[in-house]
Amino acid sequence: MLLEGKTGKWEIVCGLEIHCQIISKSKIFSSASTHFGSDTNQNVSFVDAGMPGMLPTLNEECVRQAVKTGLGLRAKINKYSEFSRKNYFYADLPQGYQITQFRYPIVGEGVVTIDLDDGSTKDIRIERMHIEQDAGKSIHDMSPVKSFIDLNRAGVGLMEIVTKPDFSAPEEAGAFLKKLRSILRYLGTCDGNMNEGSMRCDVNVSVRPEGSTEYRTRCEMKNVNSVKFVMQAIENEARRHIEVYENGGTIEQETRQFDPVSGQTKVMRKKEFAHDYRYFPEPDLPPLVLSDEFINEIKQNLPELPDAKKARFMETMGLTKYDATIICENKEVAEFFEQAAKVHDGKKVANWLMGDFFAMLNRKNLTIENSPISAENLGKLVELIETNVISGKVAKDVFEIMSETGDNPEKIVEEKGLKQVTDTAAIEAIVDAVIANNPENVAAYRNGKVNLRGWFVGQVLKESKGKANPQIVNELLNKKL
């Protein structure tokens, strides 16, 4: 995407750094729980509180999750990595340093393919991913004179994913975040909830004149906490840069804050006040050395990822690219679909899923995990239509009942007597009666008023209480009219 300025067209250059909370029972360097929503300072061990003499011990589960994620990002897994200390003072950082990875991260270069609205795809390159500990939370709004500290989050494992500056439009960044979230959720390594802070995004933006290959000074916006805000932040920050350049000014490297209310960014920290973090190798933890067996075991148990699933659904289940993209974005939806479409027509199941089913969930404000209609039952409903047991019209009524009761559609059809009448003689009797009782319409039809045809079908279906098989009705009408 190019932005129009006074002097010409400008290109956006943007990279993201995403902090993803690792799904694990306990913290990355202590045995305290990571449970979200506990009372303040309940999930805090002596290690997390930075008590004297306490030492970190690495949680192997977090390493496993990181390797899994690295594989999901189609990235190089570094068999040798190191932990480092990033030193700075803050009230919610009890040790006075963050244990992170600096020179030797656990995951190297990778790639994520994003899906754009026009149906095209683009590869976004991953620079690296490392693991580190989260800080606690400072609470400044409980008292006018005091701040409070909650250390529940202190020490929770994070994966920091750094992309190359490959985004040239806000939409690409948005699509990337959605794709990344989808991959992480498929892997079960991060729940990807940006509003709960389990996925947080730092945005780096610069601009350059169209066609140029230079990299100009970039500004970083910290902790932008929704996909929408990330896109807004990129666009508005890029426009700010363009305006500054076009008015003869220069952009200074600085850290800025995105204000979700105004959509604008404001300066947070100038470069000259940037921290000197004094990174050095963490002497309390030996280097992390992974064996081939460890990596291979994870590789072998890797779930099918969205892109692979999408391709398979398109190839073997007859889905269009559009349907497959939507269904595969969410792992639970894809699994639900696959279950429902096990023995039935995939395309028809997809239509029901993306139509009535999603509408029902929306209306009831439910997620797919607690849908009243099970995947098996949705599949059976499609099967009842396919095998002419019920008509599409009756199916809509059956679906409504299913969404209330959660019942098996076969049972509903049986109990309510909704089975389609396929007995030609019974339908013929109704057809004959309708023809006999409406001589004017018959005459009009035979004189060329062909659009009355639908009216006859309607009358027959009405008389049969909707149960007459429409195909047979049509055949008989063809013969008799």
């Binding site: 002596f46 509180a49 930075g50 008590m51 004297p52 003499g53 306490m54 030492l55 970190p56 011990t57 690495l58 200390r85 030193n87 003072f89 803050y90 009230a91 009890p94 040790q95 006075g96 340093y97 701040s147 500290i149 000197d276 004094r278 990174y279 050095f280 002497p283 309390d284 933890l285 030996p286």
Partner: protein, 485 residues
């Protein structure tokens, strides 16, 4: 009855087992000794009530025959160890009133073996110092020639002084660059810094994580062997502790040194080394030779870089390790009108001069633009120093050197106060070993012409403390050093 404080740990255990005295009687004798020796300032916290309760429990164990390896043995614990429900301050003002809710792994090993805690021992603040003069609780007086008011060495000065003055059977110490060995030498007692990774660092307030090791300071070699056996062992809570079986060090005592190759490094005999120290070193060499050992001249060519390397790496780690003392969660807090000012006020007031000096140096050497020139270079030199030892140990089994270039000096010595480098020079024979992570022991070899104890250092291969004990035992037998009575 007061004589029982003069016994070694091994003798004391015998006395307890043979019911010559009870654990309670023993503990009471030591409590009396603590009170009588308060002028030494060896303890910063006495825990007599706690000790008596533990002793009572030990007596029950002796009565029903379930006595453990250190049952009823009264120990002094260096204040760097966190002891559950007992104030632990690292002798720093910044940890005023800090009472840990957890026990260090090393002290829990000792107490689980039945040891009794007499109290917390004085030390240099956060183990930074070589004379015990940086303690917030004031200096310790060396029990040798008390009237001269000499330093006991440091940082485990309280530990060495208390053992020498018979106000505990033995003590825990920690050693980062010589903090067990140098005070042991100054006070005429025996101390061993085991291989890095032999003892867990969990619950020991960190000074320099890649160097810190706990070890015993005791009245003789055998006592060190008994204590180290209890203190050592793999601990999952310390990722740098090593999962290696702890041998029975006592079994090494009394073994012959015939054929043992003893390395003598040329670099440890620099120009200007006092004749007295040199001749005691020669005496040690001679004892081992007489006992059948083979003396090998070796070279540790990077020795001269050890001191500057140490004084970059240790402060670098310390500057980060001490960041947690910010006045926020425990210890001293001096409020300020802003978070930063609270940090500044608390740390300005809470840390002493030497600690601040090292935080400043450490912060500097890790800073952007200086890291490569100082910290990274120091790490490379550290590797060269390690390689020196690896090469030397291809030729020999154990290395013998002096522990310290001098005997104990007076408290407040002007040259050291005015120039901290002079103080740091005391570590010249001990820091290489720390950088290489090797085990080393100091044991007394004799008295200077002034009547002050001098020590020799035995350096072993990685995880080969047993050879040190074997050689030390022979030296001890022949040196016939007389402890303070």
């Amino acid at each position: 009855m007061t004589d029982i404080t003069k016994l070694t740990l091994a003798e004391t255990l015998n006395g307890l087992k043979n019911k010559q005295f009870s654990a309670t009687e023993l503990t009471k004798a030591y409590i009396e000794s603590m009170e009588a020796n308060r002028d030494l300032n060896a303890y910063v916290l006495e825990t007599p009530d706690y000790a008596l309760k533990q002793a009572e429990n030990s007596d029950k164990h002796y009565a029903d025959g379930t006595n453990r390896d250190l049952e009823g043995i009264p120990l002094g614990i260096k204040d760097l160890f966190c002891t559950k429900d007992i104030r632990s301050t690292a002798c720093s003002h910044i940890l005023d009133g800090f009472v840990p809710q957890y026990e260090s792994t090393v002290t829990s090993h000792l107490f689980n073996d039945g040891a009794v805690c007499l109290g917390k021992l004085n030390m240099d603040e956060f183990a930074m110092g070589g004379s015990n003069e940086t303690s917030f609780y004031g200096p310790v007086v060396n029990p040798w020639q008390r009237e001269r008011r000499l330093v006991p060495g440091g940082s485990s000065g309280g530990s060495a002084a208390a053992v020498a003055a018979n106000i505990c059977v033995a003590a825990t110490g920690t050693d980062t660059g010589g903090s067990i060995r140098q005070p042991a030498a100054f006070c005429g007692v025996t101390g061993i810094k085991p291989t890095y990774g032999r003892c867990s660092r969990y619950g020991i307030m960190a000074f320099a994580s890649s160097l810190d090791q706990a070890g015993p300071i005791a009245k003789d070699v055998r006592d060190c062997a008994i204590l180290l056996k209890s203190m050592a062992g793999y601990d999952a809570k310390d990722s740098t502790s090593v999962n290696k079986e702890v041998p029975d060090f006592v079994a090494a005592l009394g073994q012959s040194v015939r054929g043992l190759k003893v390395g003598v490094p040329a670099e440890y005999r620099p120009e200007g080394l006092s004749n007295e120290i040199a001749s005691y070193w020669d005496k040690g060499i001679e004892i081992l030779r007489q006992a059948g050992a083979e003396i090998i001249n070796i070279s540790l060519p990077h020795t001269k870089y050890a001191l500057p390397t140490y004084y970059i790496i240790a402060p670098a780690e310390a500057s980060s390790n001490l960041a947690r003392y910010d006045g926020l969660r425990y210890g001293l807090r001096i409020n300020g009108d802003h978070l930063d000012n609270m940090y500044i006020n608390s740390r300005t007031e809470g840390f002493g001069k030497e600690v601040k000096r090292r935080i400043m140096i450490g912060t500097y050497v890790l800073s952007a633009g200086y890291y490569d020139a100082y910290y990274l270079k120091a790490q490379k030199v550290r590797r060269l120093i390690q390689n020196d030892f690896i090469n030397a140990f291809k030729q020999c089994d154990v290395i013998l050197t002096p522990t310290s270039p001098t005997a104990a000096f007076p408290i407040g010595d002007k040259s050291m106060q005015e120039n901290p480098i002079n103080m740091w020079l005391n570590d010249v024979f001990t820091v290489s070993v720390s950088l290489a992570g090797l085990p080393a022991m100091s044991l007394p070899i004799g008295l200077s012409k002034d009547g002050l104890p001098l020590g020799l250092q035995l350096i072993g291969k990685v995880f080969d403390e047993e050879t040190i004990f074997k050689a030390a035992n022979v030296l001890e037998q022949e040196a016939k050093f007389e402890r303070l009575k």
